[in-house]
Subunit: 437 residues, 2 copies
């Protein structure tokens, strides 16, 4: 099975026999091979050695600042003073697991839960998005009594054994196990004008096929902006019909907000709310602590209670004072810096400029919401991942960081820290135009 | 299935209708119930609200310092200045994922790998011990071609879906799935003088039973100090025969060093080396970053390479500059503060005093190595968890923190930060003697 992750790795990745590396970089690459072995994947033909970061910039050992349009984890900006200060203060005060009481984890939980519909009133903190999705799948199985999941065909939801099964983009060979059924992404190129109905029908067919094989449906799990599938956001509301299908079939709807969450779409805090749907379980991660490992699951109390009737769940590092101090600072920075409004306005500007570029370049689509945009390259011969690869390395040489996604690796994915400005956006599009010309 | 975790929860946990709580504590408990719901488990009849920590002490909102004999995560001491300084410096400089280069993750990997036998030369960093064990199980399946695992009957290896299956202490009901087979802990009370042979025979029987059911054996997974089973450390070397059985049967030996690792046994860095065995895969976690979420898997390159042929593995927060800065400071603190030697000498003193106490109290065994000790309570009527529970809450009232383990929750588990002194040890034993009298 040839999939996105494989192609992205080869697209973005440092490979053998490519560019001649500076001696310090070559030495570091060799040390890395020895210690981290086959598990090490580096970006770029000429990997970057980072020495400092601030705001929208990573600074490398070559003395240059690199404008970051790739990294969605440092969402409020690299080394945001508020987050830095919170971590510095808390790590010196105390840090311990959550079987003792302390104020900050409660302040955080209440502030976070206030951004959700009232029915979603319980929070479980974990350390990674993978742990969150792993837990969400277990909850959905417990509540539905089923074991089958429907996901998109280039989905990525995390790296545990169970979550890898629902992450076809991680397979380098082999097919998904029988309890995992794949549907195409909600792509207008596939479903025409009625993406909502087309996607819902695909979900219904997948459920019917699984149940025909004797597997009871447990849930529909989607990244609500379909990042690794190539970024699909429009029209808002298209998810509604698919969620209704899932519910009617007795399954749960799990909204994976690891990528679209925390304001990235510029339309409120959560990607699911753009679609007017009510998830049974919401998972989150990446930007939650601006790089500090914290993630979470939000759900209805009866779901959590039923799960906890069967299993004790405890997560040593999660919900610690240090984790929640970092995460609380992130929520405050999103508010104080007006980052959701900024994601909306800079995203709008960027989208307009990219659509303008589309007229002059082999771009088959520009998609997305807020500061999660996808630029798809192709022509009459089909998808053109080599253009994406050329841009990734070309932009790196011009001091801009970017990556790719999609089944064919031909979609440039744009997901910068939310503090970027229209000036930064212009810099990106100007450089793209130049390289494409 | 009545298991340890259930009993420990009820043993250590804050319950309904117990003590009258101070108003500030009662308010916090109520806020916690609302936000964290059924997933929230608190320690003690009267939960503690922590406000500060340093060295071997946690300081609570009641103005008291609590001597910590429970927490093995802050292994070099709460808020160790070296770790605090490293985190404070790095969080302000840069923190990003590991697809870029930076020096510190290589400095760390080399320093950590130097503590292992040379054959174990590859490291994968993760965020939690659960993620490490999840990955180790996948590697063992890939290499062995099997799917069956043997674990001890009150084992705890983590909280993902897959790892929970091999963690019988987490089940509140139900039995393990067919591919997980349980063996008794290496308890001299069960196996008499030849624990090595008895434990190896139990492993052999479990493998034979699984293969009779058509399940191919993949590996033996044990915590090398058998913490949640009730702490079994002696005689050093007893694991050798069981590991030979596992290898002969075509399976891998996974050493879970989450609890005994990083010097706790006072006999070198790793619990497995006390037994003179060579694991195929080693997993580690808890104390690795003194509370910062970092964990890892160490293995032979061919095992990692085979795994990576099938699956892309990437862990967003792992191997970051911030995680490895914290972890490097921990390794340096263990060395500079002489903590392995301290674990050995304070552990020896504590063991001697507890054995002396044994003559005057309903203690059926004192076991362990270095600063991981277990004190088992019981009498002619059998295990006495009520004594452990009484001590846990009694010691808390006297300003000492402790917990319990074992199938019946009747084993006091002693695993303080490795910086405790013989004066602290005397304080613990004196208070225990007083409460038991």
């Amino acid at each position: 099975m040839k999939t996105r992750e494989l192609q992205i790795l080869s697209l973005n990745a440092f490979g053998e026999g490519g560019a001649t590396l500076a001696p310090d970089i070559a030495a570091l690459v060799e040390r890395r091979r020895k210690s981290y072995g086959a598990g090490s994947v580096l970006f770029y033909d000429e990997p970057l050695k980072i020495v400092r970061a601030e705001g929208a910039y990573l600074y490398a050992s070559d003395g240059r600042g690199y404008l970051d349009f790739y990294n969605n984890v440092p969402t409020v900006g690299h080394c945001h003073p508020k987050v830095v200060e919170a971590v510095q203060r808390q790590v010196g005060a105390f840090n311990i697991h959550s079987r003792y009481l302390f104020d900050i984890s409660h302040d955080y939980a209440e502030k976070l839960l206030a951004t959700f519909p009232p029915a979603l009133s319980n929070l479980v903190l974990t350390c990674t998005g993978s742990e969150s999705n792993d837990l969400a799948l277990r909850m959905a199985k417990r509540i539905s009594g089923g074991s089958g999941f429907v996901v998109t065909r280039t989905a990525y939801h995390g790296n545990t054994a169970t979550v890898t099964e629902v992450s076809p983009s991680s397979y380098k060979r082999g097919a998904p196990p029988p309890h995992v059924r794949l549907v195409p992404p909600p792509d207008p190129a596939l479903f025409g004008n009625d993406v909502a109905q087309g996607f819902a029908d695909a979900v219904a067919d997948a459920i019917a096929a699984m149940e025909a094989d004797g597997i009871k449906f447990a849930g529909l799990l989607v990244d609500t902006i379909f990042s690794s599938d190539g970024v699909y956001a429009d029209p808002p509301g298209f998810l509604k019909a698919a969620v209704e299908v899932a519910h009617k079939a007795g399954g749960l709807f799990i909204a994976d907000e690891v990528q679209p969450g925390f304001g990235r779409t510029g339309a409120g805090m959560w990607g699911f709310s753009r679609h007017g749907v009510m998830p049974d379980i919401v998972t989150m991660g990446k930007p939650m602590g601006n790089g500090y490992p914290i993630a979470g699951v939000v759900t209805r109390p009866e779901i959590l209670t039923a799960f906890c009737d069967d299993f004790g769940y405890f997560n040593t590092f999660a919900a610690s004072p240090l984790a929640t101090a970092a995460a609380l600072a992130v929520l405050e920075a999103i508010e104080e810096d007006g980052l959701i409004a900024n994601a909306a306005s800079v995203g709008r500007h960027l989208m307009a400029r990219l659509k303008h570029l589309q007229a002059k370049a082999p771009i088959t689509a520009v998609r997305g919401a807020g500061l999660y945009l996808g630029v798809e390259f192709g022509d009459e011969q089909g998808p053109a991942p080599e253009i994406a690869k050329g841009l990734i390395n070309g932009l790196r040489q011009r001091g801009i960081l970017i990556g790719a996604a999609g089944q064919y690796g031909n979609v440039l994915k744009i997901r910068p820290p939310l503090c970027v400005t229209t000036v930064h956006a212009d810099e990106l599009v100007d450089a793209m135009a130049d390289l494409l010309a």
